[in-house]
């Protein structure tokens, strides 16, 4: 496998298909898009299968110096990037399937935009050059602008503007910080910059500039307001990809850039992140409770989940960061599934008002089952993916600050409240409305979207080691890098004193292990 440019191939397949989609008919465009995304998914599986867990930090590296002059075409992945790439390529075919029937106008352009989106997203995770990263990072604005603006709901134009300008305003400050970093370190290579020690004074400014950008992408309170608008107006698949992958770009930027590159500033400004995260968890959960629009409710719940991610990342310990990463993956799958669940009934009744539904358990039992599973996963029921991430990250946060852990944990309780309340109003209750009675249960296409999502949510909940193993080494590296800057936590954890085991028994066991 070594030497074969599989990462470039993964970028090329959707890129070529994106161009092709513009020139073929509607029906053909759907198949081209599905074929290309499935092919990319297969490539992603090959990538995962060949990834050497515990091997070199950066694998599958490709470096072409000089073709862009000042910066390089440098690709490469570590475990974290691998997992997020897998998330992207897994969700993309499902997004295409989700819009198979609901998108009727300008299908070629739509499919093309989604494929561009895929290129951009996996490009962000693959880039090993600061400027290449920025180009991919920003390029995502263009297809999303079109997706929201052309195929969105009634207020789509406003939402598209808000999404574009909000995120652009954040990003440009990061560009200035990148210019300063390149001038200081004299290189654009991310692996080199990861180990470069910037002056402490400078770190603070760089950290703030990156924070301005990534907090908007994340989104963190109080710059989250673009998200509910964008989600509500976007078409179903647009919401899926927005919640599934785009929201992860912010957190990815935190762990890839801010924490290892500016460890001192991260340590000093930890309280900013904790403070905003605590507010976000409680505030957005409460806001979610009173929503009457299903998509808005899930959008606010995303903000709350992302706040636990940021708090977990800034716990600066193995558990917290691993947990945050698992929440990212879990939320990517679960929120995409929830948005699809909303899309399923929206396609039938063309409204997102919670009150217009009720009693779906009677006439849509399969749908009710899936919706239940994802609701539970969102709450964090043991056995689902949500539990693993939330437990790990909260344990990590507790080690850093028990108060932050206390406030963040209320988010889980509130999360249970708004999700169960949503579920009760939509699925349970009397089936009285005539148009709701007429709604048919899932069709095979919808099964095909929901079944893989459900399988992954359960897999991640029952055996998270598959997902944690590739990332463990990278998290250890980040934790080691942060160690000198880590403030003392208030938990003062001490190892317990287990009963002394019988000596010869332990030796025998050890010897057995060696054989």
């Amino acid at each position: 496998m070594s030497g074969f440019p599989i990462l470039s191939l993964m970028l090329a397949v959707p890129a070529i298909a994106a161009i092709a989609c513009l020139f073929v008919g509607d029906k053909m465009a759907r198949w081209v898009a599905l074929g290309a995304t499935l092919a990319t998914f297969v490539l992603g599986c090959i990538l995962w299968a060949n990834f050497d867990i515990g091997g070199a930090q950066w694998q599958f590296q490709e470096l072409h110096e000089g073709i862009f002059g000042r910066f390089n075409y440098a690709l490469g992945i570590d475990g974290m990037a691998l997992m997020l790439i897998m998330l992207s390529v897994f969700l993309m075919p499902l997004c295409i399937l989700a819009s198979w029937e609901s998108i009727k106008s300008r299908v070629g352009l739509y499919m093309s935009m989604f494929l561009v989106m895929e290129v951009v997203m996996i490009g962000v995770f693959m880039a090993q050059d600061l400027l290449l990263f920025y180009i991919f990072f920003e390029a995502g604005l263009i297809p999303m602008y079109f997706i929201i603006g052309i195929w969105g709901g009634a207020n789509r134009k406003y939402a598209a503007y808000k999404f574009f300008l909000y995120t652009l305003l954040g990003s440009v400050l990061m560009l200035i910080a990148m210019i300063a970093m390149i001038a200081e370190a004299g290189t654009t290579s991310i692996p080199v910059l990861l180990n470069y020690d910037f002056p402490v004074q400078m770190q603070t400014w760089l950290w703030l500039a990156f924070f301005a950008s990534l907090a908007v992408k994340m989104p963190m309170w109080p710059v989250h307001t673009w998200l509910p608008d964008a989600h509500v107006q976007a078409p179903t698949a647009g919401s899926m990809i927005l919640a599934g992958v785009l929201l992860k770009l912010g957190a990815y930027g935190f762990i890839r850039f801010m924490m290892p590159m500016f460890p001192d500033a991260s340590g000093q400004l930890m309280w900013v992140v904790f403070g905003l995260s605590m507010i976000a968890v409680v505030y957005t959960s409460l806001v979610a409770l009173v929503q009457s629009d299903m998509k808005k409710l899930i959008a606010y719940s995303s903000v709350a989940h992302m706040a636990i991610v940021t708090a977990g990342l800034f716990a600066f310990n193995q558990q917290g960061i691993e947990g945050a990463l698992i929440i990212m993956l879990s939320h990517g799958v679960v929120s995409a599934a929830l948005f699809f669940c909303v899309g399923v009934i929206y396609d039938r009744l063309h409204t997102r008002e919670i009150d217009r539904y009720g009693g779906l358990a009677v006439n849509m039992p399969a749908y009710a089952l899936f919706f239940m599973l994802f609701t539970m996963a969102s709450i964090g029921l043991p056995g689902t993916s949500g539990f693993v991430g939330e437990f790990l990250s909260l344990a990590g946060i507790y080690e850093a600050s028990s108060w932050v852990a206390f406030v963040c944990t209320t988010g889980i309780i509130l999360g249970a409240a708004y999700m169960l309340y949503l579920y009760r109003r939509v699925v349970f209750g009397e089936l009285t409305k005539d148009d709701v009675k007429a709604m048919p249960d899932l069709n095979p296409r919808e099964w095909a979207v929901l079944a893989p999502l459900a399988a992954v949510a359960l897999w991640m909940g029952v055996y998270p080691e598959s997902f944690l193993a590739p990332m463990r080494g990278d998290v250890t590296t980040v934790v080691a890098r942060l160690a000198p800057a880590k403030p003392a936590g208030d938990a003062h954890l001490a190892a317990g004193k287990p009963k002394a085991a019988e000596a010869h028994h332990g030796e025998a066991h050890h010897a057995g292990g060696v054989q």
Partner: protein, 477 residues
């Protein structure tokens, strides 16, 4: 003397070619559009070849009044290319027949601009500037039966004359206090103690030059002239003279005023920020696409000035790269505007009429989208790269607050660019029919080529661009 003449072949070719074109028009009458268009295009091609042949030569001619160097060469290549396109697109616009004066005037203006870009003496500079301006005033009012066109010409003339007056006053002050009009001599005088006369001279010269590049607060003429002038002329105004004036300003600032950084840097910074912000804010309410592109050009000049404010070689390289990308984008955008005609063949200039263009003319709409996102500097389009370079130059010259202010203001600019895209893609179809076809292959080719270049392909040219712009910028330091 004869040796000097051998070094100004591009100028000689343009002079002779311009005269021949004029003669052809006189003797053949206005019917033979093809012949004098061809003669003008051949002239420009020959002049381009002459510039290429002289590339690498670095000397000054005619007692140091005119410089032959890569910096001038780079600017001239851009100017000639822009003029070439402006002549190429004209016959289709002037449906009643393009008169021979049009290509001839463009050639004379081009000649003046070449002199602007390579003069090393304030007097030559002024001669070049006026040669260009006089031709430009006539071009602006070229459709003499059209009220808007006549108004544009008059407005341009009056305000241009005012600016020339200010420039001349500044030149006289600089001459009076330094005793010379030669850039090297002025730089020597600037190296010492700056007296009030020199400072006033700097201010007036920069004000006069600011008018030519339409930097805020000397920009008022731009939207009116761009709107009123015939579209091929607007295409010309938005591209070639911008290059010439920017090159001239760079040369004056770096070569003549170089030692007095403290005196001019703050002026340039003000011009830059004012242009970026006002260019962006002013564009928001515009309903006419040509006016909007006028504000966009003001906005872009602001970004170029950020690079110039750095005052370093890196900054000048950034300005040159910016000019190249800007010219390609602007030409493309105006060519798209030229393609927009309703069923009766009238030009469509109103932005609301573009509603739903993506469904009527997907190719044109897509190309326009590329140009607009590129002007806004959104990666992965190539318009991002020159913006990156100017900000990098500013940051490396310790002008971080300028860079931050400029880049934040660029978001305001993004708003109106994406609002046109909104009109073309999100809005329902307007009543205005925009039938396809009638396009000349050459126009389509230019649009396609520039759109492709500005999409990802442009990044592959960065190494070449870096070498060329570095060799051009090095001349000034």
């Amino acid at each position: 003397m004869t040796a000097d003449l051998m070094l100004i072949w591009p100028e000689l070719i343009l002079t002779i070619g311009g005269l021949i074109t004029l003669m052809l028009g006189t003797f053949l009458g206005d019917r033979q559009v093809g012949i004098y268009q061809l003669s003008a295009l051949l002239t420009l091609a020959a002049a381009t070849a002459a510039v290429v042949a002289l590339f690498g030569v670095q000397t000054s001619v005619f007692s140091g009044t005119l410089s032959v160097d890569n910096f001038g060469g780079f600017a001239k290549l851009l100017i000639y290319a822009a003029s070439f396109v402006s002549i190429l697109i004209a016959p289709r616009f002037f449906t009643s027949g393009m008169r021979a004066e049009y290509p001839a005037l463009i050639l004379f203006a081009t000649l003046g601009m070449g002199i602007m870009a390579s003069s090393r003496d304030l007097m030559t500079l002024y001669v070049g500037l006026e040669l260009n301006s006089l031709a430009a005033y006539v071009l602006a009012s070229f459709m003499r039966n059209d009220d808007r066109s006549s108004e544009a010409g008059l407005k341009y003339f009056i305000l241009g004359a005012l600016a020339s007056g200010m420039l001349l006053y500044g030149i006289s002050l600089l001459y009076g206090f330094s005793g010379t009009t030669d850039f090297t001599g002025i730089a020597k005088a600037m190296g010492g103690e700056l007296n009030i006369g020199l400072i006033f001279g700097i201010v007036f010269v920069l004000a006069g030059l600011g008018f030519k590049i339409s930097a805020v607060p000397f920009h008022m003429w731009t939207p009116d002239v761009y709107e009123g002038a015939p579209t091929p002329v607007t295409t010309f105004f938005a591209s070639a003279p911008k290059v010439a004036a920017m090159a001239m300003m760079t040369r004056v600032v770096i070569e003549a005023m170089g030692p007095a950084v403290g005196a001019w840097q703050q002026i340039i910074i003000f011009l830059a920020l004012a242009s970026i912000i006002l260019g962006a804010v002013g564009a928001i309410g515009q309903k006419n696409i040509k006016r909007l592109l006028a504000y966009s050009s003001i906005n872009n000049v602001g970004f170029m000035l950020v690079g110039l404010a750095a005052g370093t070689q890196q900054g000048v390289e950034a300005v040159l790269t910016y000019l190249l990308v800007y010219v390609v984008t602007t030409l493309g955008a105006f060519l798209v505007v030229l393609q927009l005609r309703d069923a009766e063949g009238n030009q469509i200039e109103s932005i609301p009429a573009l509603a739903g263009l993506s469904q009527r003319r997907p190719g044109i709409a897509a190309a326009m989208t590329v140009f607009l996102f590129s002007l806004a500097g959104i990666p992965p389009l190539f318009g991002f790269w020159p913006k990156y370079l100017v900000f990098e130059a500013a940051v490396n010259a310790n002008l971080v607050p300028l860079a931050v202010a400029g880049i934040v203001a660029s978001v305001i600019g993004a708003f109106y660019y994406i609002s046109i895209i909104k009109t073309m893609y999100f809005d329902d179809k307007s009543d205005t029919e925009i039938p396809a076809g009638g396009g000349v292959i050459a126009e389509d080719a230019v649009i396609t080529a520039s759109a492709l270049w500005l999409s990802v392909i442009g990044y592959l040219f960065i190494p070449v661009l870096a070498v060329i712009s570095a060799s051009a910028a090095a001349v000034l330091f």
